[in-house]
């Protein structure tokens, strides 16, 4: 079993600040972290490895600093890491990103054939969830998105059974390997990393590839050039006027709210 997990370094969007003058991100204001959904993806791979054996690789595209999240992935349980980094990748939207990653996956699978690819549901900086399914299409393998449980993996029949979250419930899906899963946070709890992993991670140096290390690459499909979408403008929506503000002591304000609500017969009936 060879599982590859695709991971992304993201700014911690909980604390990132926007420069109000330029409407751009102040990247210095937030630390770069392993995308939280990807941490669950690595953890899911570790769980599968524990049950079915095999090895786990992680793959990331990003600046050289992204080696940090590969080390983090090794802490959680990855055996190997690959980083593709090149100025030619910069400015990629989801289409160009899935193209670049699929080329790296082609190379990885030549050396170590891939049975399963796992991605986080989405990255918290873009929130799109489009790269995982895009990779699956490019490799022509079945994608299963929004996975909340890997129910069964059978190495002999090559069948995989998973639960996929849908509106108001889930569906049980069977597919065959190789396939690609994108996982929800519900799939697992991030465990504390075992000490040997931490030691390994501290010393780990991932394999680093530039565009020239990948085969059959159409450079027009990379980075900004290969991205059909662009950001037209950034704006803060006009501030709405807002409603009625109550005044007075807390008790009085609450009383006014309740009076207003209870008077409105269309909202409540008290029987």
């Amino acid at each position: 079993m060879h599982i590859v997990v695709c991971v992304k370094q993201v700014p911690d969007t909980k604390i990132i600040k926007i420069n109000p003058k330029t409407n751009t991100l102040d990247r210095r204001s937030a630390p770069a972290i392993l995308n939280p959904y990807d941490a669950h993806a690595v953890q899911a791979a570790a769980g599968i490895k524990e049950a079915a054996g095999g090895e786990i690789s992680v793959l990331s595209m990003g600046p050289p600093q992204a080696v940090e999240i590969i080390k983090k992935s090794v802490e959680i349980g990855a055996d190997r890491g690959y980083l593709i980094t090149d100025r030619a990748f910069a400015g990629a939207d989801t289409l160009a990103t899935s193209y670049a990653l699929s080329k790296a996956l082609d190379r990885i699978s030549k050396e170590h054939p891939i049975d399963l690819i796992i991605c986080g549901k989405h990255a918290i900086d873009g929130d799109t969830g489009q790269v995982g399914p895009g990779i699956a299409r490019r490799l022509d393998i079945p994608p299963i998105t929004n996975v909340i449980e890997v129910t069964d993996i059978n190495k002999e029949t090559r069948k995989v059974k998973v639960k996929r979250k849908i509106i108001n419930g889930y569906e049980l899906i069977e597919t065959e390997m190789p396939c690609l899963l994108t996982v929800e946070k519900e799939i697992n709890e991030i465990a504390y990393s075992p000490m040997p992993n931490m030691i390994k991670a501290a010393r780990y140096n991932p394999v680093i590839w530039a565009v020239s290390d990948l085969e059959d690459v159409d450079k027009t499909q990379l980075g900004l050039k290969g991205s059909p979408t662009i950001v037209g403008k950034m704006f803060t929506p006009p501030k709405p006027e807002g409603g009625h503000m109550f005044e007075g002591a807390a008790e009085d304000q609450v009383k006014q709210v309740i009076d207003v609500l209870l008077q409105n017969k269309e909202l409540f009936s008290v029987n």
Partner: protein, 340 residues
């Protein structure tokens, strides 16, 4: 690219029922189509679903493309993607919208890859620049503190997934008529790699999106222990409980209670926003609620901008009073409060 004409809406049906977001998109798509002077088409896939075509026309479409096949009985990326691509390659739309549901996002991502075109995720505002025939798809970006308008200038169709409950459906008009165009999909079940073995609907868990009243707490509550007051007020009101992204990340409540861009979008009759400052990413998930009551210490908090009524004060002081006074009010009127 010049040949591409028309606005399309992917109409998601599950077990023969059209998803609400698809009707909302027909309303939004109608406006775009009228501005561009082109027809609005609904795209309908499934097994024995043709009878839904009239509904799609009643809600604003000029025509409906239907693909029926036994391999489309349940949603699967493999088969649905092929059906959609078949239509898009043959009839070449310029704009193609999908609901941002699990299945809508899934099929749109696959289709965009095969058509090598741009796809904007989870948009909350749509417009067109008529002269250049450009779709302006806007969405909260970077954790939701700002809006970004995404353009796809050189590739067609211009595609976007759109958040449920942010667009408005048109009134159902049974006098509307339109064309139904059928296409056949040549896929056999034996060629499918994926099978849906079982669909389990969680009927016991009341969905937050169905709640008539929601009490939602933010990090202004301070800690998990204080968040219990949110549950207590919700109990008194028979309301659903929501949390902001911060609160969910902090583990005070599970992700299925998250309201906002990466959680649920809700439109209850009454929404209590308690200790919530009002980041854009939260506002897009609740601002269309009928009555919004905001409680926050900071009188300049953006949440007051969308609120119907505002109370400036410490949530920890206000909540117990709200609970006490609501209890008192209901006791006085002799009964439980129910939604009319």
């Amino acid at each position: 690219m010049q040949d591409n004409r028309g606005v399309w809406v992917y109409v998601e049906q599950n077990e023969g029922v059209i998803e609400g977001v698809s009707l909302e998109l027909l309303g939004a798509g109608r406006k775009l189509a009228d501005k561009l002077g082109v027809p609005l088409s609904g795209i309908l896939l499934g097994e024995n679903v043709k009878n839904l075509a009239d509904e799609i026309i009643y809600y604003g479409a000029d025509q409906v493309y239907v693909v029926e096949s036994p391999v489309l009985r349940q949603y699967r990326t493999e088969s649905y993607m092929k059906g959609v691509i078949l239509l898009a390659e043959k009839y070449k739309p310029e704009i193609f919208l999908y609901g941002a549901t699990p299945n809508g996002k899934d099929v749109a991502s696959a289709v965009a890859t095969d058509l090598s075109t741009g796809l904007t995720a989870d948009t909350t505002m749509l417009d067109v620049e008529v002269e250049k025939r450009l779709l302006e798809a806007s969405r909260p970006a970077f954790g939701g503190n700002i809006m970004a308008t995404i353009l796809c200038k050189k590739h067609r169709p211009q595609m976007a997934t759109v958040r449920p409950k942010v667009m408005k459906a048109l009134e159902r008009d049974t006098s509307r008529t339109g064309r139904v165009i059928e296409e056949a999909l040549e896929i056999r079940e034996e060629d499918m790699r994926t099978k849906v073995l079982e669909i389990v609907k969680d009927v016991t868990k009341k969905s937050l999106t169905d709640a008539h009243i929601i009490v939602c707490g933010g990090k202004g509550l301070g800690d998990e222990r204080n968040f219990a007051l949110i549950h207590e007020l919700a109990d008194v009101l028979g309301a659903g409980v929501g949390g902001t992204r911060d609160v969910v990340e902090a583990g005070w409540i599970s992700h299925d209670h998250q309201i906002g861009q990466t959680g649920e979008t809700v439109t209850p009759k009454i929404y209590f926003a308690v200790g919530i400052s009002g980041a854009i990413q939260h506002l897009v998930g609740m601002k269309n609620s009928e009555i919004i009551i905001a409680i926050n210490k900071d009188p300049n908090a953006p949440i007051f901008g969308v609120s119907t009524y505002g109370i400036v004060g410490d949530a920890l002081e206000i909540l117990p009073i709200l609970i006490k006074q609501f209890k008192h009010a209901f006791r006085e009127k002799g009964g439980e409060m129910t939604y009319a």
